[in-house]
């Protein structure tokens, strides 16, 4: 199967006053065309940075990205900013974590929705507006004409997220990054938004990278899962395979910490005892060692290498579950 997006040995460092912060470390990941890939991990594990870096959205003198990103035959990491920009909208698009901060507070929804159509697809102002209204209807926003004229602060959280989805899909992207599209919403709205994303993906034949820290969301919405820990992808497998036969102790811990029914939206997964290692000062051995119940001496001295099972299941652990127990 061909990959739509392939990320090879990508690392992202931020220069901070406290030194270099390695937010993403040597990530290798393939997003197969037409598939939905989940990215899970605790808060701060580098999910957002990985997605933004893959698209080339991290800018500024403090950002250093290394490695290779190939999207749909284009080697993004070898292209200029202007060339990559040509691929935005109709190639790649992104839904952001918080729809309130990701929509411009002083511009009307209609303007924010139609400008991509005008710039990327060359539509006229009135065509773009008409199309914007259709897009709002497509994401099931009632009273679309009025919403076009509103400002983001006048809409509810769920409506704002729908608007953002409408913006992201407006130019029919091949790949949609959805960065925690439901974290900021309450539970019933979460379900509606996930349903909407499933349908849109079906209709528009989009591939999707679905970032979440909720394994429950992953189970119902993805074909593959990448588990991130401390900036690394520590396990990658087809979703069914992962749940049936997980190899990483971290994934197991994550699964055991799946939020209870009374889990309120927005609460972070901090149920695994201990915390993520300091990203400016990572342990030499396995990053998970201080919190891992399977850890042995080797784990604290040697950084585990990536291993690939014959069936393509990838993980990064010296003592994977189901092997040396």
């Amino acid at each position: 199967m061909s990959s739509l997006l392939s990320i090879k040995n990508m690392s992202v460092n931020f220069d901070t006053p406290r030194g270099s912060l390695e937010a993403v470390r040597g990530v290798d990941i393939e997003i197969p065309a037409g598939m939905s890939v989940g990215v899970v991990g605790e808060s701060g594990s580098g999910k957002t940075v990985m997605c933004r870096a893959a698209m080339g959205l991290l800018q500024g003198s403090t950002v250093n990205r290394t490695g290779t990103v190939i999207f749909d035959g284009h080697e993004l990491t070898a292209m200029s900013k202007e060339q990559v920009r040509e691929l935005f909208g109709s190639g790649m698009a992104m839904i952001f974590q918080d729809p309130l901060t990701a929509l411009n507070p002083v511009r009307r929804i209609g303007v924010q929705l139609s400008e991509g159509l005008r710039v990327r697809l060359g539509m006229s102002k009135s065509d773009a507006m008409a199309r914007s209204k259709e897009l709002l209807e497509l994401v099931r926003i009632p009273n679309a004409a009025a919403v076009l004229k509103s400002f983001p602060y006048q809409l509810s959280g769920g409506m704002r997220q729908r608007v953002m989805i409408a913006i992201a899909i407006s130019c029919n992207p091949k790949l949609l990054f959805a960065d925690e599209p439901t974290t900021a919403l309450d539970v019933t709205v979460q379900a509606q938004i996930l349903q909407l994303l499933r349908e849109l993906r079906e209709d528009l034949k989009m591939s999707m990278v679905l970032v979440t820290h909720d394994l429950g969301v992953v189970a119902g919405n993805t074909d593959y899962v990448a588990v991130m820990y401390a900036g690394e992808v520590v396990e990658y497998a087809p979703t069914k395979k992962l749940f049936a036969d997980m190899r990483m102790p971290y994934t197991e811990a994550l699964l055991n910490s799946i939020p209870r029914v009374d889990h309120k939206s927005g609460t972070r997964l901090t149920v695994i005892a201990g915390r993520l290692p300091d990203p400016t000062n990572r342990p030499v051995g396995c990053s998970f060692a201080p919190r891992c119940k399977y850890a042995q001496d080797k784990c604290t001295t040697d950084h585990p290498e990536l291993k690939t099972d014959p069936d393509g299941h990838i993980y990064r652990c010296w003592f994977p579950i189901g092997e040396s127990l």
């Binding site: 003198s61 929509l103 002083v106 400008e115 602060y153 913006i167």
Partner: protein, 321 residues
């Protein structure tokens, strides 16, 4: 309804400010330890002086004096300027001086904003890089030279040595557009330098803060060009402080250009105030300050109304006051 209440409250507040300011100035005029009558009528006898004092209310207490002045002021009688030979009305002087000051102020603002906005946007976009450093260093140097010094340097170099521009006076439109601008260029430059660096710094700081916002990354992910993002997404939410400070500096520019107007003898309000102080024309001073206070209050209202246009969120917030 809520909105109406907000605006009524706002206007009432500003009205109180106006009364306090004018009363304060009126007190100051009373406190000055000289007898106005002796100054404006040096050769008159005591009866004439007493009549003069009574005519402007100086025989009453501070409040009575203020009320009499206020009563005249609201009817358009701003008092008189006294010469040894006779009198002229304050309003006559201000009516002539005001358009000159307003034009000087308008040109100064347009020029300062016209330079500061591109500079601020550019230096935020290139923050920390060479263009940004060159801009901030240059502006720092210019902003540390006071306006009157710039004025004097301009007069010496451009006015006298090169003889390109007239160093004194004012020309109306009817004397020719070019003639008019020739008289304005140097005063405008002298007033602008400080403003340019102030405005650039404000805009740069706000733009840098806005550039970190998620909606900028979002705009990038739509495939918009940097130029479009800067101007359409970042400039507007970042310009509120800039326009507020520009509007508030208007009030100051109308009367506050005293030194520059005097150096270039543009015969604007600032010049009139300068002359009033020199000539001990305290009624003139009091009424001019009141007129300037009126302008301050007016531009305050402009800021209130304008910020609602720049940031729609403030419009609704107001109803929750």
């Amino acid at each position: 309804m809520e909105k109406l209440k907000f605006w009524l409250q706002r206007v009432a507040q500003l009205f109180v400010v106006l009364l306090l300011v004018t009363f304060g100035v009126s007190l100051l005029v009373r406190i000055i330890p000289v007898d106005l009558a002796t100054i404006v009528m040096p050769v008159a006898d005591e009866n004439q002086r007493a009549a003069f004092r009574a005519s402007i209310g100086l025989n009453k207490g501070p409040i009575g004096y203020y009320l009499q002045w206020l009563g005249n002021f609201v009817q358009g009688d701003l008092g008189k300027i006294y010469y040894s030979g006779g009198t002229e009305t304050v309003s006559g002087h201000l009516i002539k001086a005001m358009p000159r000051s307003l034009l000087l102020m308008a040109y100064t603002q347009i020029f300062a904003l016209g330079i500061a906005i591109p500079l601020g946007v550019l230096s935020a976009y290139r923050a920390g890089r060479r263009a940004d450093r060159v801009i901030s260093n240059t502006l720092f140097i210019f902003s540390s030279i006071p306006g009157f010094a710039i004025g004097l340097i301009l007069i010496i170099v451009v006015g006298t040595k090169l003889a390109w521009l007239p160093t004194l006076g004012y020309a109306t439109y009817s004397e020719g557009i070019w003639e008019h601008f020739k008289h304005m260029i140097m005063p405008v430059l002298s007033l602008s330098f400080g403003l340019i660096s102030q405005y650039t710094r404000l805009l740069r700081a706000d733009m840098i803060a806005s550039l970190r916002e998620d909606y900028v990354t979002m705009a990038m992910s739509k495939g918009l060009s940097d130029r479009r993002i800067l101007w359409q997404h970042v400039f507007r939410p970042s310009s509120i402080t800039l326009f507020t400070s520009a509007a508030l500096s208007m009030g100051g520019l109308i009367g506050g250009a005293i030194v520059i107007e005097s150096i270039f003898a543009t015969y604007g309000v600032g010049f009139e105030i300068f002359a009033a102080i020199g000539g001990r024309q305290y009624i003139m001073l009091q009424s001019s300050v009141a007129v300037i206070a009126l302008f301050y209050v007016f531009f305050n209202l402009v800021v209130d109304i304008g910020s609602g246009f720049v940031d729609p969120r403030t419009r609704d917030r107001r109803t929750n006051v």
